[in-house]
Amino acid sequence: MDTVTLSRAFFGTSLAFHIIFATLGIGISFMVFLSEVMHQLKKDNDYAIMAKRWTKSVAILLGVAIPSGTIVAVQLSLLWPGFMKIVGEVISVPFQVEIFAFFLEALALSIYVYAADRLPPNMRILSVFLVFLGAIGSAILITSANTWMNTPAGFDMAADGTIYNVDPWKAFFNPSFLQTSYHVSVSALMVGAFAVASVAAYRLLKRDSPPQAKSLHYKALTLSLVVAFFMSLLTALSGHGSGQNLQQHNPEKLAAAEGLFETQRYAPLAIGGYVDPETHKVKYGIEIPYLLSFIAGNRFDTEVKGLYEFPEETWPPFYVHTLFNVMVGIGTLLLLLAGLGLYYRWKKKRHYPKWLLRSFIFSGPLAMLGIEFGWIFSCSGRQPWTIYGYQTTAEAATRAAHVGFLLILFAIVYAVLSVLVTIVMISYFKRHPVMDDIEQFSKSQVVKGG
């Protein structure tokens, strides 16, 4: 493989690893915040226990999110020096602001984790809210840089590559910034909620849990399903907005996502299958007439551009069709699943059927997969461009040797760390079963009451 391909593989691997921990950090810290609020509202200790236990997992996850984020930040300069030269000139502001989000998050988390016992409840809620704010702020700010790559703005480039007329704030608020950050944020909250739901459902299915523990997991499941349902809904709606954004600003990405070659009105939506590179048709997919036009412009007669409109060397790879389908498929499936859960909880009786609990177990990993596919779609769908219309990936990439060796080394390190995190999580929660917390809390209640 050449250095460019290796660099792409290397960077993609690092981000795919980072994003798991970063996204869970955002989503679960939001759940901690909600359970702290519920604790104050309902005065039910179970919520305080949830907050305490989830915080522990956030702390462990951020222990990997932060160094792996440091890695991607440095790797941007190492692997894409050509890209970072332009970034430094134009879009360095979000990176700089992001540092403050990191500081905010680091300060608030240390305070929440190590000083919780010295804080009054309101300050506790405030500090965990700041943790969440810092985390989601980081995500939104990095997304600003990413959206600028998709829809560059705020500068001009001379024929020799010199940058002039720089307007950093226009670059920051580039045309797809608001829409995309919205989609990124709600999908992260969706992942956090489903992750909590997965664990709670697993615990509820275990036969040997004592009734007090079951009641706690039951509340956790219900809380997470409510959040998961609303966030799935918002994710789907905002994803629709992102699609319309593509129609306006990156039409070849949308065309490749849908395997559409001819520009047309009343364009059909192709679900599943793959794009045949010979015949330029979607094979083995289901076509729903008119739907793509409607999605792209809210009208059946919207004209959707096909790939033939663009020179062939700027076509994105055809596999993005599958990436896009998987993301949308997961979104639809999880929305239905969460809706079904709420239906059983409120319309029927108070029990979730066993088969439903079993399927909840898979919801967290699936949601995470949705995030991974979404990002890889967004980044690969931009190919061959790194900065759409301005710089190709080959121009951005490093010329240094040894990239392949480093890729293998890092892949091994990531694999080892993933195993370690899993072991640490499991062994921590094995040593500190939920009953310990329940007993401890009821004891301190007795002391206070008596």
Binding site: G63, V93, L107, Y114
Partner: protein
């Protein structure tokens, strides 16, 4: 400096893990809430280089791919193992070893990049700047810089922990760290002095600049002497005074070194002026920096009071 204190502290936590005094625990207690902040400062540095000197990021990125990647792996292991070691009682010993040793290595590797900017290690190959690995790995200049990094790290962290121990009223731990500071202070100064005669011939330009700034370096040595002697003031020493003076010493010396390094960022390929970003971006960055710092300042103050001053935290026994 923050890095030295932080990385050094995890080394001391390893050394004194089984010590009967509170020395090891204390280093840990300081580390638990602060490592994230230190890591963020590290990222701030990287981002600032890219933001203010995009051209430098381009060149550093190309030259330093391998050394920086190795540092990254060490940081990844250190941070995550530190977090893990608070969570898993079982493997705490191994985890402390990993975080202690990586803590020792990271600053050493980081500073080994410094001689690269001084000339002699970079050649142009196929139109791009490339690092000469074998020369870099075999140069005495690089190794003396590494020793300087190592001794500075241990000096700064032991001095800081001595002050922290005083604040926590841990007498034994204070004596231990004071002793280490007394040992490593002169060593670090000696190493710093040795870097000059051992520089590569290509760095001759820097030596003459360093001599031109002799006054500043003398001033920093005076600050060191005052700070160092404070370890004996009023019998048991005044660690707070020592910290302040030694921090100023490093600040002055860094300033003088930076001044001597001008106008080059990477000799002879890159000058500071050419690397600098455009004015619009510069002003936005500057205003963002000021506003951000102003907003976060209260946060740092609260943090300081909770972890570095509050007696309830300082005197918690493990």
């Amino acid at each position: 400096m923050a890095g030295s204190v932080d990385f050094g502290a995890s080394f001391w936590a390893m050394i004194y893990r089984n010590h009967e005094t509170q020395a090891g625990n204390m280093a840990n207690r300081f580390l638990s809430p602060t490592w994230e902040i230190t890591n963020t400062i590290l990222v701030l540095m990287v981002v600032a280089v890219v933001a203010f000197f995009p051209q430098a990021a381009f060149m550093f990125g190309t030259i330093l791919l391998v050394p920086l990647s190795l540092i990254l792996i060490l940081i990844l292991f250190r941070s995550s193992f530190m977090v893990f070691s608070y969570s898993v009682e079982g493997f705490q010993r191994t985890l402390k070893w990993v975080s202690g040793l990586t803590g020792l290595l990271v600053p050493v590797l980081l500073i080994s990049a410094l001689p690269i900017t001084e000339g002699g290690f970079v050649t142009i190959q196929g139109g791009y700047e490339t690092l000469q690995m074998t020369k870099w790995l075999s140069s005495p200049s690089v190794y003396i810089y590494m020793l300087f990094g190592l001794t500075s790290e241990l000096f700064l962290s032991s001095l800081f922990l001595a002050d922290y121990a005083r604040e926590s009223e841990e007498r034994d731990a204070y004596q231990i760290y004071r002793k280490q500071a007394i040992l490593f202070g002169p060593l670090s100064l000696l190493m710093a002095a040795l870097t000059v005669p051992l520089m590569e011939p290509e760095a001759a330009w820097l030596i003459s600049n360093l001599e031109a700034n002799r006054g500043w370096f003398l001033f920093s040595v005076v600050l060191f002497v005052i700070g160092y002697s404070a370890l004996w003031w009023s019998k048991t020493g005044k660690p707070r005074v020592a910290v302040v003076f030694v921090a100023s010493q490093y600040a002055v010396a860094t300033f003088a070194y930076g001044k001597s390094h001008l106008p080059y960022m990477i000799y002879p390929y890159l000058k500071v002026d050419d690397a600098f970003t455009n004015l619009d971006t510069f002003y936005s960055l500057l205003s963002v920096l000021i506003v951000g710092m102003a907003i976060l300042l209260p946060g740092f103050l609260i943090f300081w009071r909770l972890f570095l001053k509050d007696r309830r935290y300082l005197q918690k026994k493990e």
